[in-house]
Amino acid sequence: MNQPRVLSAYMMLLRRDVTLAYRNRAELANPPLFFVLVVSLLPLGIGPDSALLGKIAPGAVWVVALLATLLSLDNIFRSDFEDGALELLLISPQPMPVLVLAKVTAHWLIAGLPLLIFALPLALMLYLPWRALPVLIATLALGTPVLSLIGAIGVALTVGLRRGGLLLALLVLPLYIPVLIFATSAVSAAAAGLPVSGQLAIMAALLILALTLAPLAAAAALRIALN
């Protein structure tokens, strides 16, 4: 298997998953819709106190983004598992971690990227200071791919179970906590005018770690789940 064939398999699978999501647009809208609805309910519940809202904005945006990702995780492998396409991916001569990475990339483009776009108006609505906005987007750009990658391991482990939803949350949420802590601390620090390079560097390190290890772990987990 030479390099170009692996790359073309990656691109084909990525394009296939994005096409499938596009043809199922109703499902495509779910994670961003959840994100927008929950964040816009917060000021209604808490009251229009700009100082308070500005203080909780980083945490509110990030917690809801995390839950929106968690809700959409099952899509990564579930439908392929049910119609038998996952078996065919496993017995294709292409390296499975590369195919897993293609599926995770597609998931991030579908469920993660829209969060970045919607976060901007929502953060303004919550009175997050202007100077913290670039940092919020930066943390989402670094953090949401980590959420998709770690989530893929959890979904791969639970895809064979009929009711794996709660187990998936229990498996994945503890691993999401470092991302949540560093991201919200970076945004809060930026809002207070403090330097944020430390937190962002750690988030970048988390992304690289997840990018290198999660596809391998998820591929191994799929092999076990389908045995």
Partner: protein, 217 residues
Amino acid sequence: MNEALSDMDAAAPRLEVRGLACTRGERLLFTDLNFSLAAGQALLIEGPNGSGKTSLLRLMCGLGLADAGEIRWCDRDVDDYRTEFLTDIAYVGHANGIKLDLTARENVDFTRALGCPRPQLAAAGALAALELKRLEDTPCRKLSAGQRRRVALARLLVLNARLWLLDEPLSALDARAVLRFEALLRAHLDDGGLLILTTHRPIDLGQYEVKRIVLGA
């Protein structure tokens, strides 16, 4: 790796299974299973429902784990040459493995991109061979069960695989499609291909030698 691949290409394809055993949960499906298959031969796996036919096929393509025994392809243990072996097999399982929101042609094209495609046969040719020419741009969701099965079987034709593993390939096919598919199976054997299949329906492979093993006997 490349050297090993060309070595394997040169050797006449030959499949050998020695002492294979498989359990599912607490239940022993089969033990000490031996057979061998050479170019142009077919193997029919028979047995009642639940006797392990699907498990055996999944085990052959590496989806399941055997409790004992080895599978040798071209005189090599497939566990050591997994990638080369996988380029040589094509599997149609119980589930069709096609995406219902893609068209028939998109599904077959995806198989070509993922595996080791036959350069001379594009997706359109494979679909035409199974009388799906008119339906190639129809989303598979709109096809009937038998037509979906034919899309899944069309994937066999675009791959450069010498060993076909088929789990109930004739399910949902009408009489005309069965005749057509039998002709494709004979053409595959004629090209020096190997064939392992399970079926509950009688299948006519003409003059080609059909070996049989009975599971759960």
